[in-house]
């Protein structure tokens, strides 16, 4: 089951990604629509984070390519925003909440320039949107997991991008806050921004998302939620583990065969 977007914001073309020669994403080929809230759903180890990192140019691609707005990533970086998984940074770093959110402005600022008052206002506004305005001066080491996640979200909002990639932005966030934040993301989508979110809770996914990508090492399905969120496809994604693919991956790694021949 695969539906192509008519006006794609993102195009994954036959993408294969490996760690240490072991492929974890196989031939991902899909398009994602503009101005939609898009969920990437799949079990642990399905390669969701890998897919996002690959799209962000943080991993070498085995084969294939990713294009954003029909351009290469380097041409549109200033329009792209990214929320990494919370564990990816050291939260004992000596800095404040506002400082982290201001980092979202660094891309627009460019080298050498310091954040201006306008930047600070924008950062404050974003903190307000995620309900963290009371924590502006707080040390990031003194935040709870869910609060850390909201700071990351605020930082992404501060980028004022056209497309957002978020890796589990709601891990550790309570249900009420999650709904509120999903509401904000929906608002972004209404303004024509594209929001791609790795998400674990199928219930709220069904409630909020427009478009769903079902992933488990390969692309299981991709399309408008009404077409994709079917029992059968969800079963395919979560149910019978794709043992064959995983085993072949192990084989390829052990024999050190390149996952894709170059010629």
């Amino acid at each position: 089951m695969k539906v192509e977007a008519t006006n794609p914001a993102v195009e994954f073309h036959d993408l294969t990604v490996s760690y240490d020669k072991k492929p974890v994403l196989w031939n991902i080929d899909m398009t994602l629509p503009q101005g939609a809230l898009i969920g990437i759903v799949g079990p642990n180890g399905a390669g969701k984070s890998t897919l996002i990192k690959a799209a962000m140019g943080l991993l070498p691609l085995g084969s294939g390519y990713v294009r954003l707005f029909n351009q290469s990533l380097d041409e549109v970086r200033h329009r792209v925003s990214y929320v990494p998984q919370r564990e990816s940074v050291d939260w004992d770093f000596p800095t404040s909440v506002l400082d982290v959110v201001l980092m979202g402005r660094y891309g627009k600022l460019g080298l050498f320039r310091r954040p201006s008052n306008t930047d600070k206002e924008i950062a404050m506004n974003c903190l307000k949107k995620v309900g963290m305005e009371a924590f502006t001066k707080r040390q990031i080491s003194q935040l709870s997991g869910g609060q850390q996640q909201r700071v990351f979200l605020a930082r992404a909002l501060a980028q004022e991008a056209d497309i957002y990639f978020m890796d589990e932005p709601f891990a550790g966030v309570d249900a009420a806050t999650e709904s509120a934040l999903l509401g904000i993301l929906q608002g972004l989508a209404k303004e024509g921004k594209t929001v791609v979110v790795v998400h674990h809770d199928l219930q709220s996914a069904a409630e909020f998302f427009d478009w769903i990508v079902l992933l488990n090492l390969r692309l299981v399905a991709c399309g408008p939620i009404k077409d994709v969120f079917t029992n059968k496809l969800l079963q395919d994604t979560y149910g019978g583990k794709l043992t064959v693919l995983a085993e072949v991956g192990e084989l390829v790694k052990n024999r050190e065969i390149p996952s894709r021949e170059k010629y």
Binding site: M56, G57, S81, Y82, P94, M103, G107
Partner: protein, 428 residues
């Protein structure tokens, strides 16, 4: 002592030059080292520091002079080479980074020592003093040496202040920096280069063996005093400068003594002091906080038990013996007595002939503790449906942390109840 005043009167031009030189070298190393510390690359700094020795020796052998610029270039090249080698080993073999670092460090340093020994035996008159790069010699910071090293230090300060925000995000979240389009590769290259340069210049004062400590220790000490990267960098710089000053003084008072060990000792003592004394993060302040919390709990418990006793015989203001308090609830005797004395000092109790009695203030406070305890028990059993025989332990801790606001809310929520789950009266 005389020496001390002589030195700090800064009369002698060479004293001034050595002081300026040492301060610039150590503080610039400390400032750059802040980012080595934040990126958790201390071991890498150590490897680079040891790896510059063969570069210095080689530069000397090839040029035959001790021209500082040439030595710096030689040191810079082998310093970088060591980093590239570590990277190469890491990416091409299954060896862990720390193994690669240890390997590179010992091989480069071994080669360096070999060269140094052979230079010393060559009888070349110009070589005298080359071994001061092992443990540092601040006294050598005069003339062109001073100018060259000071210039490099100023460049380091300049780069860090220009690229401060970039260095910060690079240390905190490099993949985010890359995604938003900062030239991460170039910035990493710049950071590595200034780290190598900081090491290369710092060794004149500190020496290759202890240079890593100069890079890391000021930042580690500064980390205890602040929660802000900018302040941390500045504090590290100041601490570095101070240890440099100490090094210059040692160099002046005992010219043959290597300065590196002294500088590192001074900065280590500062780090130790920070470790113990710094507010919030320091050991001492943490202990004090814990102690005052223990005292608070002890005092509140004592008042509560005195109230309990008074509740039983209905004479709250009667004098009680220590034995009577112990009968109500066991306290270790020493703690009990010091607690009673504290309470007297605070005006909650008075004592006469070894017997203790509430003041009005103490009575009210004891009553409040009992009230909080019973309110919380009731809250647990009513709202959280916890069995009445399980709520006491929890209330024992919670009663000490409930704020007046929370107290008001609890009272309202439970509608000023008469009794707790054990049918004991809640006093208001």
């Amino acid at each position: 002592m005389e020496l001390f005043f002589e030195f700090f009167s800064f009369q002698d031009a060479s004293i001034i030059s050595v002081v300026i030189g040492s301060i610039l070298l150590t503080s610039s190393s400390a400032v750059v080292g802040t980012f080595t510390f934040l990126k958790k690359k201390a071991l890498l700094g150590d490897a680079v520091a040891h790896a510059v020795l063969p570069g210095i020796c080689l530069a000397f052998i090839l040029s035959g002079t001790k021209n500082p610029l040439i030595l710096i270039i030689g040191a810079f090249i082998t310093g970088w080479l060591s980093l590239i080698t570590i990277d190469f080993i890491g990416s091409r073999t299954k060896l862990k980074e720390d193994t690669a670092i240890a390997l590179v460090l010992s091989v480069f340093f071994g080669v360096g020592i070999l060269m140094l020994t052979s230079i010393q035996h060559s009888g070349n008159a110009a070589q005298t003093g080359l071994d001061s790069f092992l443990f540092g010699n601040a006294a050598a910071l005069i003339g062109t040496d001073l100018i060259v090293f000071a210039f490099v230090s100023l460049v380091l300060f300049g780069v860090v202040s220009l690229l401060f925000k970039e260095m910060k995000i690079l240390a905190f979240d490099p993949s985010f920096a890359q995604v938003i389009g900062l030239p991460v590769k170039t910035l990493e290259l710049v950071l590595t280069s200034i780290t190598v340069l900081a090491v290369v210049t710092g060794i004149q004062a500190v020496g290759v063996v202890l240079m890593a400590a100069m890079l890391i220790t000021p930042a580690a000490a500064a980390r205890f005093w602040t929660q802000n990267v900018l302040h941390m960098t500045l504090i590290a710089g100041v601490l570095g400068a101070f240890s440099g000053l100490a090094g210059a003084f040692v160099s002046y008072s005992a010219p043959t003594m290597p300065t590196g060990p002294w500088i590192v000792m001074v900065i280590s003592i500062i780090a130790l002091i920070s470790f113990f004394l710094a507010p919030k993060r320091g050991i001492l302040s943490r202990n004090l906080q814990q102690r005052s919390l223990r005292h608070l709990i002890m005092d509140e418990n004592l008042l509560k038990e005195l109230y309990h006793i008074g509740e039983k015989d209905n004479t709250p203001f009667k004098e009680r013996s220590i034995a009577a308090i112990m009968r109500e609830r066991f306290f270790p005797e020493g703690q009990l007595k010091s607690g009673l004395i504290r309470l007297k000092r605070k005006g909650f109790l008075v004592n006469k002939d070894g017997r203790w009695k509430f003041t009005q203030l103490g009575y009210e406070k004891g009553q409040r503790m009992v009230k909080l305890h019973r309110l919380w028990e009731l809250y647990l059993s009513e709202y959280l449906k916890i069995a009445p025989d399980h709520v006491h332990e929890d209330a024992e801790t919670i009663e000490h942390v409930i704020t007046p606001e929370l107290e008001a809310r609890l009272e309202k929520m439970l509608a000023f109840p008469e009794t707790d789950p054990h049918e004991k009266k809640i006093p208001y």
